[in-house]
């Protein structure tokens, strides 16, 4: 076995091993735990960076392990895998820093950081899996690893949210399992090969292919929070802020969206999907979810709940983009995978900071908060304006590609949906920004809540949102650069459409 074969496995294990060690550490071993966490996160990020450099020069990274006949565990690096692995490893690092600051002095940190690492292992595994079975294994692994994080606080509400979460995700996993098994029975073990294995079956088993596509889609739609299977997401926001940030930006919801992209482009392949005509229900559901999530967000007074509904809406941009055939639209879908992650993690970090430093959870209480937390609210403003789609923040680029792609495919109604969503986003985000910066703070209240911390949040809570906000701006401002998410998305899409 050569270095290139081991490296995907090392990337996955770089968080698994610290996670397992953390379980055996003493609860009070802060320093060891912190070092382990950060070392793992840095190692993973460096390795993904190295793989990216190698990948650009044409190196092949692949790890294979035969479990039994016709059942192979395969980790493989392709452009899409790199994009998602890069996103999760970079955001894991910042979220780790945030979590260390957030949980300072609280109990059960061993359990939290253990499962936190395992959860990221699962999400990197999803990114790097090279066939459907490996993908499914990590997908289910993620469900189980995130449950302890959701119920971390142990309150009745959290436990209820956890039950709801498990109900939805295990149910979705079961449905997905049926789809995976069905497809394997039909066509043998499925590699991510852009539909090469399935296209031969088009003549004889078109109906089965269609049916299995929908079955798998339903399975994936749970984590991708597509209506009506999104119910778990706004409820799961009772989890602590770092978990919400991870859940909403990288791990769970992205696993669903990433799965949909894999399903459309790599399992079926875009040509087969178009030929089977299976994409339009996804487009309609996605469009409906976009509007629905935004409308529901307007009526939430709880800041995190409003953000959660915004996630429901924004995630469906990805589904909608994947459902519209055409290079531009696909680029938009794939790049939004990254952009939404950057912007939404910023927003959740900021919501966490507000709650931690001032104890405020409601939108209606945020008058003048910009004076107390100017940098946090600055980052929040960047994230929110990006969600609306204002240039030069990342969301602008996503919307640009999705809309032009929709017009290219002759579906102008999608542009109307996207612009409608922009307007709705403005309706639920701008009042927050206006209140924070321009309204008078209440005479009493948060001003003298915690006199020890005069200004801003502690740096460990402040640094992560500033970094992600900066990335949100630069990935939009320098979208045409060859290192940007957009350029990587373009490369991926070129492979999808031309290297059949």
């Amino acid at each position: 076995m050569t270095w290139n074969e081991w490296i995907p496995l090392i990337i996955v294990c770089s968080s698994l091993v610290p996670g397992i060690i953390i379980f055996f550490l003493h609860e009070e071993a802060h320093r060891t735990r912190t070092i382990l966490n950060l070392a793992g996160a840095l190692l993973k990020l460096v390795l993904v960076g190295l793989v990216y450099l190698g990948f650009r020069t044409g190196e092949v990274y692949k790890f294979q392990f035969q479990i039994m006949v016709d059942l192979e565990f395969m980790l493989r690096v392709d452009a899409l895998a790199l994009l998602f692995a890069g996103l999760s490893s970079a955001l894991w690092l910042v979220t780790t820093i945030y979590a260390i600051g957030y949980f300072e002095g609280s109990s059960n940190r061993r359990r939290f950081f253990g499962f936190f690492s395992v959860c990221v292992t699962a999400s990197t595994g999803i990114a790097l899996s090279g066939n459907l079975v490996t993908f499914f294994v990590f997908y289910e692994f993620l469900t189980l690893a995130t449950y302890p994080l959701v119920v971390h606080s142990g309150t009745l509400k959290a436990v209820e949210a956890g039950r709801n979460y498990l109900f939805y995700t295990i149910g979705g996993g079961t449905v997905l399992f049926i789809g995976v098994v069905g497809l394997t029975v039909l066509a043998g073990p499925i590699d991510f090969s852009q539909g090469a294995q399935l296209s031969g079956l088009l003549e004889n088993s078109a109906f089965e292919l269609k049916l299995l596509f929908y079955v798998m889609l339903v399975g994936l739609a749970v984590k991708a929070a597509i209506f009506p299977l999104h119910g778990w997401l706004p409820i799961a926001m009772v989890a602590p802020a770092p978990v919400s940030a991870l859940l909403h930006a990288v791990a769970v919801v992205k696993a669903g969206a990433f799965g949909i992209i894999r399903l459309v482009y790599d399992v079926y392949g875009i040509n087969l999907a178009v030929e089977l005509n299976v994409l339009w229900p996804l487009a309609i559901l996605g469009a409906f979810t976009i509007i629905y999530g935004s409308v529901r967000a307007i009526f939430q007074d709880d800041l995190k709940k409003r953000l959660a509904f915004s996630t429901v809406s924004q995630l469906s941009y990805i589904a909608l983009g994947a459902a519209v055939p055409g290079m531009i639209s696909s680029t938009g879908a794939i790049v939004h995978l990254v952009h939404q992650g950057l912007m939404k993690i910023t927003l959740f970090f900021c919501a966490g900071n507000i709650a931690e430093t001032t104890g405020l959870h409601k939108v209606s209480e945020l008058n003048g908060i910009g004076r107390r937390l100017p940098l946090t609210m600055g980052a929040f403003t960047v994230g929110a304006l990006g969600m609306i789609g204002l240039p030069p923040i990342a969301g602008f680029v996503s919307k640009w590609y999705l809309s032009v792609g929709a017009l290219d495919a002759g579906q102008p109604w999608i542009v109307a949906v996207l612009l409608g969503s922009s307007a709705l986003n403005a309706i639920y985000f701008l009042p927050i920004i206006h209140a924070a910066w321009f309204k008078q703070p209440p005479a009493e209240g948060w001003r003298d809540l915690r006199p020890k911390r005069r200004f801003e949040a502690p740096w460990m809570l402040l640094f992560p949102p500033l970094v992600t906000a900066l990335f949100s701006i630069t990935s939009g401002l320098f979208a045409a650069m060859s290192w940007s998410p957009l350029s990587l998305a373009r490369v991926i899409v070129e492979r999808v459409y031309f290297l059949q």
């Binding site: 709801n164 109900f167 939805y168 149910g171 009506p228 299977l229 999104h230 119910g231 706004p234 409820i235 529901r296 009526f299 789609g389 204002l390 240039p391 030069p392 602008f396 680029v397 640009w400 809309s403 032009v404 017009l407 290219d408 102008p412 542009v415 612009l419 922009s422 307007a423 403005a426 701008l430 321009f438 939009g476 401002l477 320098f478 979208a479 045409a480 650069m481």
Partner: protein, 576 residues
């Protein structure tokens, strides 16, 4: 490099606004000085080479052509004057840092959108200007300012959405993000007309076209005077530039929207005068005058689509008129802001300045205004025979209307009492006002000589009489009105609320809000309405009950027999 400096320098200065001293000199240096690169470029500093920055946004392309250079000159002049005036205006304002910040950001957007040549950076700068201006509008945080800000924001977002839709469609049609390629494609490919319509409406919010002008009479009076001078003088022209970018004028295409533009433009040109006369705040009055003048420009722009006039005429005529209106209106707004700060002899000097500016705007002979209107009139001669005279008459009548409206403005200014806190350092503000007045008088002539040499003489001399009678007519009407109201002291001029039709919009919004609070919201807040848990409830409780009941049912012995036979039947059927 100079392109980047001129558009981004104001943004780079943003961190200074918080930490710089609050003295007037620093404000003038910061807000006025940031315009210097733009002015230098507009006056010809190293403008030959376009800039391509392929890493930025979706590929940035910056450059200038002649009409846009004139707009850049206008923008640079107005922002500079505004910055200098702000130095005196905000002497004791605690929100000065905020004002400086929004001022610089909006300035960067305004400069950037003029030099942008690709759709993505154009839209970016446009949005920057739009949203940074919100901070200028609500500067005082008064109730009226917040209301104006809200309406401004709603209309601005509406406009941005239409505009970005037009850009998406244009980019898709052209297969390129260059604005030149987009406007080319609009008039060679099918479906371009609708895209143009979207762009007209989207930019129309800025231009102040009927019915999208509603924010204008609200926002201009509440913004601080230096800001409203720029809003009216330069930002309205940004919408005009947007129109030009998408218009068929440069490609000789037929304009399907010509008629709409002409009708809406003329309606605004004369309607705004009528509504403006019924206002009691001098700055609102000026705002309606802006709507009227922009309406004139809209109508002329529409005529340009229909006539066979060469583009070499129309564009300079539009640009010169824009310059003339921008500079003069800027002076008028600065003056209106000065009125409550002055008393005694200073007040009379100021009123003289304002009277002079009013005459220039109305196009009195031997002023830049006459030259600008002459340019429009001249370009009108390319219209079909029947129209030429009509255009000339309409222009003259509009001049008379302008004078009438501004006469009322002048009277309102004269009647304005001096504010309780008279500020002492008027020097900065008078300097800015004076500079703008000089430019209003002479600038247009210089521009003529540069861009339309053969027309300069004609408008300057032979146009004197044709420019004189409308002004006389306006003065006559004004005097008649004054005499009438003096004789009938018990009668008052009708009083319309500022923003006229917006009142109905707000009424509708309030009615909807009331309904929503009493009835509509109930749909969403009722306990039973919980779509998030729909699937959960349906399956978790529903299936449980079903399974329990089904189990109980199957437990009865007679059902077991039936089930057995059913299964047997299925298997036998399956074997065949």
């Amino acid at each position: 490099m100079n392109w980047i400096i001129l558009s981004l320098l104001p943004l780079l200065l943003l961190p200074c606004v918080r930490f710089c001293p609050r003295s007037a000199r620093v404000t003038a240096l910061l807000c006025g000085g940031a315009t210097l690169p733009a002015l230098a470029v507009a006056l010809g500093w190293n403008v030959e080479v376009d800039l391509y920055f392929s890493d930025g946004l979706l590929g940035v392309s910056l450059g200038l052509d002649a009409p846009r250079r004139m707009l850049l000159l206008l923008a640079g002049t107005l922002w500079c004057a505004g910055g200098v005036a702000a130095a005196g205006y905000f002497r004791e304002d605690p929100r000065l840092p905020g004002f400086r910040g929004f001022f610089l950001a909006a300035m960067s957007g305004n400069f950037g959108l003029i030099i942008a040549q690709d759709a993505a950076s154009f839209y970016s700068f446009f949005a920057l200007m739009t949203f940074a201006s919100y901070g200028l509008v609500i500067h005082t945080r008064s109730k009226a300012a917040l209301r104006a800000g809200r309406i401004y924001l709603i209309l601005a977002i509406f406009g941005e959405l239409l505009l970005i839709a037009a850009i998406y469609a244009g980019v898709q049609l052209a297969g390129s993000i260059q604005l030149a390629a987009i406007s080319q494609a609009l008039w060679t490919e099918r479906g371009g007309g609708w895209i143009y319509g979207l762009a007209l409406a989207g930019f129309g919010v800025k231009v102040g076209v009927i019915p999208l002008y509603l924010w204008l009479p609200l926002a201009h009076p509440v913004a601080p005077a230096p800001a409203s001078a720029i809003l009216s003088g330069s930002m309205l022209k940004a919408g005009l530039l947007g129109w030009l970018h998408f218009s068929p004028l440069t490609h000789g295409g037929a304009g399907e929207w010509a008629g709409v533009l002409v009708i809406l433009g003329l309606a605004a040109a004369f309607g705004a005068v009528a509504v403006g006369l019924c206002q009691t705040d001098p700055k609102t009055n000026l705002a309606y005058s802006s709507i009227s003048q922009m309406g004139l420009l809209t109508a002329f722009f529409g005529f340009g689509h229909a006539s066979g006039a060469p583009i070499a005429w129309i564009l300079p005529a539009i640009a010169i008129f824009a310059w003339h209106h921008g500079v003069t209106k800027g002076a008028l707004f600065l003056g209106a802001g000065l009125v409550p700060q002055t008393r005694g002899r200073t007040r009379w000097i100021l009123l003289a300045c304002l009277a002079f500016a009013a005459l220039v705007l109305a196009g009195a002979p031997f002023t830049g205004g006459a030259a600008a209107k002459g340019a429009l009139k001249e370009a009108g001669t390319y219209l079909p025979e029947a129209w030429t005279g009509v255009v000339g008459t309409l222009l003259s009548l509009s001049s008379a209307g302008t004078l009438l409206l501004l006469g009322r403005f002048w009277l309102l200014c004269r009647a304005t009492p001096t504010g309780s806190r008279v500020r002492s350092d008027l020097g900065w503000q008078f300097a800015a006002l004076g500079a703008l007045l000089v430019l209003a008088l002479g600038g247009s002539f210089l521009l003529f000589r540069r861009f339309l040499p053969e027309m300069a003489l004609k408008s300057g001399l032979t146009g004197a009489f044709s420019a004189a009678w409308p002004v006389g007519l306006g003065l006559l009407l004004l005097c008649l009105g004054m005499i009438y109201f003096k004789r009938n002291a018990d009668r008052r001029a009708p009083n319309l609320p500022p923003g006229d039709l917006i009142v109905f919009g707000e009424w509708a919004a309030r009615a909807f809000g009331n309904w929503w609070r009493s009835r509509g919201a109930g749909i969403f807040t009722r306990k039973k309405f919980d779509p998030e848990n729909f699937v959960y409830r349906l399956i978790a409780t529903g299936s449980g009950r079903l399974a329990d009941e089904g189990e109980a049912e199957l437990g009865r012995w007679n059902r077991v027999g039936v089930a057995f036979f059913v299964l047997l039947f299925i298997f036998i059927w399956g074997l065949q």
